[in-house]
Symmetry: C2
Subunit: 196 residues, 2 copies
């Protein structure tokens, strides 16, 4: 087994996959999904076009892999010691993603593009499934600490938080007022406790 195969086994992609993912997301943010091409990614990342095609036969497939694999979108679930602290950290990360360039351009472009590509839509679904699977640890610890009932619904709580930020920034196109994160977490957490 040669070195390349070893590397593939570890990362599920070619050796320079991070550079490829970075180039993919950068180009998406700059040019939108229409302007994203595998040729452009090859040029920007300095990786041969045929290498990229060998791993990802279409730009939908490549973008899907970039979403799950990219450093910029990495999520390590927080562990601050309290559920309120963890949720403020999570929502803080989301509001940064939605308001700071180029992350916000990537987020909005990707989701806009999903309407044109069922393949990309499937990758977006995987991306969010991967996130919630990792975020569950935050709630497991909160249940163990007695901060929230075992019957709380982590996905509903995450969706309330993320959704409020998404609606305000992307749909309403309004700024997040100061204290948005703390107030939103407080409301949702009080709701979860009173409902449990």
């Amino acid at each position: 087994m040669n070195e390349e195969r070893n590397d593939i086994r570890r990362s599920g992609g070619p050796r320079k996959s991070q550079q490829i993912f970075d180039a993919t997301l950068d180009l998406l943010a700059e040019k939108g999904y229409e302007g994203l091409t595998i040729e452009g990614v090859a040029q920007r990342s300095g990786v041969n076009k045929t290498t990229i095609y060998r791993w990802w036969p279409s730009k939908g497939a490549l973008l899907g892999a970039a979403l799950v694999g990219a450093r910029q979108l990495e999520l390590t679930p927080p562990d601050t010691g309290s559920l309120a602290g963890d949720l403020e950290d999570l929502l803080g990360t989301i509001t940064t993603l939605l308001t700071v360039r180029p992350a916000c351009d990537i987020a909005v472009s990707v989701l806009g593009a999903a309407t044109h590509s069922p393949e990309l839509a499937a990758h977006i679904k995987d991306f969010f499934a991967d996130r919630i699977a990792r975020e569950r640890a935050v709630f497991d610890r909160a249940v163990a600490r007695g901060e929230i009932g075992a019957d709380a619904d982590p996905m509903l709580l995450v969706d309330l938080l993320a959704g409020a930020a998404w609606v305000r920034v992307v749909l309403r196109q309004l700024p997040l007022e100061e204290g948005f994160v703390a107030r939103t977490v407080n409301t949702v957490l009080n709701g979860a406790r009173a409902t449990g």
Copy 2:
């Protein structure tokens, strides 16, 4: 003053504006923003192309007007007698918009297209501003009935509800489980009461 001018004063558009808006949203749902043309709208609505151009000089402008003016997207704020009832009605309307065709295709296409058109983005902003202005009546009545404190933040509560539905359906691409509306309203309302 002729009849046409009178009509314009009332509706802010030509006489057959509802047919034009219907055709605009139908075509958007079928073909996406790229495939939407004023020519196509003229054909489908039976209105002369030049009449449409006289009112809306671009498809971004036309789509913006259709969003605010279309019957399919009309929102009469509910008045069920309780805040929980009103919010379940509001969220029920939103979940229907997001899950029933063609409304869901329209919603996702419009928001995807906003990334390509600053003009359309501005119209979407107006659309949501118009909605929240009308939804405030629900909260004013709830404050008057003593169901919620006067310091409650209607926009945050609406965004939590709408956002949770949006994330679940559009981003996660998961079905809304039975009881989603009641459970989500209950959690948000408990949160609003406990936080106030």
